[in-house]
Amino acid sequence: MVIFKKENTESTPAVDFDYSSKVLSIKGVCSPENPIAFFEEIFTHINEFKQQNSELLVEFTFDYFNTGSSKCILNLLFKIKSKTGKDFNCKINWFVLGDDEEMRESGELFEELSGLKFNYLTAN
């Protein structure tokens, strides 16, 4: 059983990817100086996971992110969506802290650009 975990820092979110429960959770501030380095490991795990599984729940709960990270989040969504030769079902839960309209709008832009369906939920 593979579990990929990263603790949150001042500039990066907590990541919890449990292959057995088929849930990837990313939560917190996402503003690293080098977002590519931060997301690389997640991309590797997504590719590996998709080889062996047919479904995934992704849960995003962001406080805020920088534009470099926003591009990486979009790339992550494209990786999740990309065809692997077999059916792969993905559900995206986009959590918004309270009434954060700005973060909701960011989710809507990711939804539009990625072509994936998002569920919008409120986190406290």
């Binding site: 503003s31 100086e33 920088n66 470099g68 926003s70 591009k71 790339n75 954060d100 700005e102 650009l113």
Partner: protein, 186 residues
């Protein structure tokens, strides 16, 4: 280190404005990732105390981060003149002032793009923002203009900028971003 030639002008401007009530944050000097993260935390605390909505605070944090991380990326050009970042409140909203030295190449890029973005209508700006978001290639050095475009887009084009050549030949870039808060207080 030379004194930043614009900092006095900006401080004078924000101190004499009739409606000026608050200079919430002033950062002057070398910008590091630690300073940026601490400043964003400070901004959040101050704006919560001022009763701004959560969405408005997130927008300020995201734009502020972009401005300060851009300054940080150009740090090598700021050895002689210190950069600054100021968050100032008035009755209508928040003003984010910043200034730093940039390269000749960056000067041409900023001048061309900021002028172009300001001429676009809302739908055109949205289209360019989406297209750039989709097609930009991210590198370790930067995000190929997505940061600047994000600032323009999220501020609804409420930006003014100035580029001044200094005696040493370098360019000083100053930016003012205004975020209307009319409907963004609890």
């Amino acid at each position: 280190m030379m004194e930043n030639p614009k900092i006095r002008e900006v401080l004078h401007k924000i101190s004499v404005k009739e409606s000026s009530v608050n200079n919430l944050v002033i950062v002057y000097g070398k910008m590091t990732q630690e300073i940026i993260l601490s400043t964003v935390k400070l901004i959040e605390r101050k704006l919560m105390l001022e009763n701004f909505t959560r969405g408005y605070i997130t927008k300020v944090k995201m734009i502020g981060t972009e401005i300060m991380q851009n300054i940080s990326k150009h740090q090598q050009y700021s050895d002689e003149v210190a950069p600054y970042f100021i968050l100032n409140a008035d009755n209508n909203g928040l003003h984010l002032y910043s200034g730093n030295l940039i390269s000749d190449e960056s000067k041409d890029y900023l001048s061309k793009n900021l002028t172009q973005y300001k001429l676009l209508n809302k739908a055109e700006l949205r289209a360019i923002y989406s297209e750039t978001f989709l097609n930009t290639s991210l590198t370790k050095e930067g995000n190929a203009g997505l940061g600047l475009l994000t600032i323009v887009y999220k501020s609804e084009q409420n930006i003014t900028h100035d580029l001044v050549q200094l005696s040493n030949g370098a360019y000083h870039y100053s930016l003012e971003v205004f975020l209307n808060a009319t409907l963004n207080k609890n």
